[in-house]
């Protein structure tokens, strides 16, 4: 086991896959000699050359389209978006082409493509750099979407994503790159379509992902002190949602709290609640509650910014209120 930063874990995953498979390449802005804005591709260019770690001019639509063409022609490109917000410029290529070309070509063309980059609210980066776009991409058919949250799952998931033969959108978070964790030395892969059980419990199912996983973990001491026993699930796979694992948990706890960083309207929680309604309605003792950011652009001012992101204290309050209200009926 060795302690490693998240950005380093992602770099290690990329490095290992590029070493094993010569068709894996990285395409993006400043990924080459600069090593990437978040150092995820540090020193890869000196190992693999400027052609396999390709610095491009600034045009997200262009290098995403380029990666699509390259993927069709036998490469396994990893596109790095400097910030996931900028990938909105590539939305046409991602939605109209990456998600569709296998289908509309009758299964004749395959796109083993990874599109990765940081999103989420950082430290006073302003609205345009604080976008949470997972839900925008979640609707696109043909894509797989994962959100990593720890160095351990980042490495395992990225390796799986690179080996997957479908286009995978891989969300990282700006504030998690310096997270440190011990990870195994030996090679390991994590499935792209399964949740991660952070904590087993029986009182309530808390569904979360990315940075909010850590806010839920920070809320745990207060909850445990008061005798609550939450089950915490990191969604990991945002498309497809691992409804089977979620249902195992909900059948046990009968209460669900969703803690997400995206905006409330049409966010990840909205889709979760729809699926829980369809498959798990009878298992619920209370309506599903979602804690999300408000439907506003993220402000720059520090305390205002903090007010738009769900804090651990809100999570504690919400858990207590749900459990208390359900207990009131049962007793």
């Amino acid at each position: 086991m060795s302690k490693i930063f998240m950005f380093d874990a992602l770099r290690a995953a990329t490095d290992e896959e590029m070493a094993k498979d010569p068709t894996v390449c990285v395409i993006g802005e400043d990924v080459g000699h600069y090593g990437g804005s978040y150092k995820v591709t540090k020193d890869l260019h000196s190992k693999y050359g400027d052609l396999r770690v390709l610095d491009t001019p600034i045009a997200e639509n262009s290098f995403t389209g380029m990666a699509i063409g390259a993927a069709i022609t036998g490469l396994r490109p990893i596109v790095e978006g400097m910030n996931m917000s900028f990938l909105l410029l590539a939305f046409n290529q991602i939605s109209n082409n990456a998600g569709m070309l296998r289908y509309t070509s009758g299964g004749n063309f395959t796109l083993p493509l990874v599109i990765r980059g940081p999103g989420g609210v950082g430290r006073q980066l302003g609205a345009e750099h604080s976008q949470r776009l997972e839900a925008y991409f979640q609707a696109i058919p043909g894509l797989k979407i994962v959100a990593c949250s720890t160095p351990y799952n980042a490495k395992g998931l990225l390796k799986s994503a690179i080996r997957d033969n479908n286009p995978v959108v891989f969300f990282e978070h700006v504030l998690l790159y310096n997270l440190q964790e011990e990870i195994p030395q030996e090679e390991y892969f994590l499935p792209l379509n399964k949740v991660e059980f952070v904590r087993k419990g029986k009182d309530i199912t808390i569904l979360t992902y990315s940075r909010m996983r850590h806010h839920v973990i920070q809320a745990l001491p207060a909850l445990l002190k008061e005798g609550y026993d939450p089950e915490v699930i990191d969604l990991i796979s945002l498309k497809p949602l691992d409804i089977d694992s979620i249902s195992i948990s909900v059948k046990k706890t009968h209460k669900v709290l969703i803690v997400e960083e995206c905006m409330k309207t049409a966010g990840i929680g909205a889709e979760l609640i729809a699926q829980i309604n369809e498959y798990l309605f009878d298992e619920l003792d209370a309506p599903v509650v979602r804690l999300s950011s408000q439907d506003i652009p993220t402000p720059y001012n520090g305390s205002l910014e903090q007010a738009t992101v769900i804090q651990p204290s809100q999570i504690v309050d919400s858990v207590k209120s749900i459990i208390t209200s359900v207990k009131a009926i049962i007793t």
């Binding site: 050359g49 052609l51 022609t73 070509s105 009758g106 058919p141 049962i330």
Partner: protein
Amino acid sequence: MAALTTMTAAGAVRAAARGGAPRARRVPVASRSVGGLQARPTSLARASGKVGVGAPAGAPVTSAPATTAAAAVSPGPRFHSAATPAARRRPRSTPLSETAAALPSYADGVVTSHGEATAPPRPPGTPTPPIKDYPHHPPPRVIHHPSAQHAFTKFTPRWAATPAQGPAPLPIPAYRLVDARGHFVAGATGAAGEGVGEDNILAGLGGRPRIEGLFRTMLRLREMDAVLTSAQRQGRVSFMMSTAGEEAAVIGAAAALRPDDEVLAQYREHGVLLHRGWGLAEFVNQCVGNVKGSCKGRQMPIHYGSVEHHFHTISSTLATQMPQAVGVAYALKLRHRLAAAKAALREDNGGDGGVGSCGSPRGNGGKSAPPAAVTTAVPTIAACFFGDGASSEGDAHAAFNFAPVLGTPTLFLCRNNGYAISTPASEQYASDGIAGRGPGYGMPAARIDGSDLLAVLSGIAAARAAVATTCRPFLVELLAYRQNAHSTSDDASRYRRDGERDAYIERADPVARLRALLHRRGWWMGASEEGVWRAAVRAEVVAALAAAEALPRPGWEDLFEDVYDAVPQGLVRQRDELGAHIARAVARAGGGSSAGGGP
């Protein structure tokens, strides 16, 4: 899947285990507060009896447990419960027949395909009302090719590619070897080393067998388009696009490329597939959308694709293929470099080549020097077709910039046919066409008279050779004229001047021009034989169409395949739901009298 369907039973078991105490939402629909969005007490409070539910008389809360137990078994009746008061059921919407009658219909000649009201159809013989006059449009009798900003297109008998950088004389002259009457122009010089003069050039381009063969391919394309357009008017195919006027540009380009050069096209390049040997059956199967169609019925007609013929599946969004073509070229370059580096290492070490650096993108000494055995040249290139309208898209600029910066072997081929649906080229850009942009991006550019098959063959061969040997991009603009409408969905007479089309057909029809040349050389099959041959092609297409229509369409089970490499569980569920719905519909249709009603 099984786990989910048994949940309701489990729910009932749990309710029973609680002593049958009603859960909050077991309260039937009728007893909820009527009127929608007013603030209502939580279901928890209601169930505990603390708050009245405002139920209409006759639907007492005490009936809840009984309904609960029944409802717990199957979710269906709960939502279509007979306890729902009639007042809450939504009134039936306006019947379709009433709304349909309110709309104007095509039969009146009032509504166009875009829904605007127009004047009723003119009686025959009435002159066309003039369309909007643009100050820079010359009168129709002068041949003004709408594709270049300047009033008259200049032609040149010598290949005149601009340098990648440095001064380029504007307007870039169009390379032309054969004039409208089928005679070689003075000073005609081959672009790819064929030499000077008619005999040398014809010999250098493959002589009679090749030129006559390409003439037949052009005729074949024209006939196939004509038959399929008629089929669209008859409702047998939903949508169709004609390539009339651009046969030489596309088929000539296809012939100048290698058969395994990757082609990314826009939508009017059927000629490439026809030249590469795609059968008529393939074309019509895709248009009809049957099981044997290349896309399994999932794409519109015309959106052809074939891995075997190195033709990427057409995507409707304009210009998205352009950055993709840069990516395809990049992949070809990278794979070639990797293979060459591996071979070189194997030679050096006598062992298996390792994976490593494969040269810099700029090809002439970047940060890491390429191994000695790696040459700049690549065996195959990526050729990207796009139209004059598509060149305005952001993706076009992006591709034009990326290709020369990254050094990818991309051959950009612009079919400037003068129109983007109704927008003439003079309203599409203010530059010297598309070729004039090449030096601005740092890549060489050239313009070719796309109605002249020989100029296309020679010029594109030269451009392709430059791309393949230098591993750098090249921009070619092919001047052509779109004789028919954009597609079967628009009417070109609404935006074209009277006489313009006829003038271009007279002077710039590629088939007529090539026929004149062949006739002069004695290589033409003659009018009657051509007529017979074309009728045979038409019959072949008609037969292929009939055969295609006889084949089955893909079944609904196929809907969920190929979204991913394997069907994920979520889609399996959706497929099963659809299957159940279809089975019910089939049973209802075949099952005689049942208490119909609901959806």
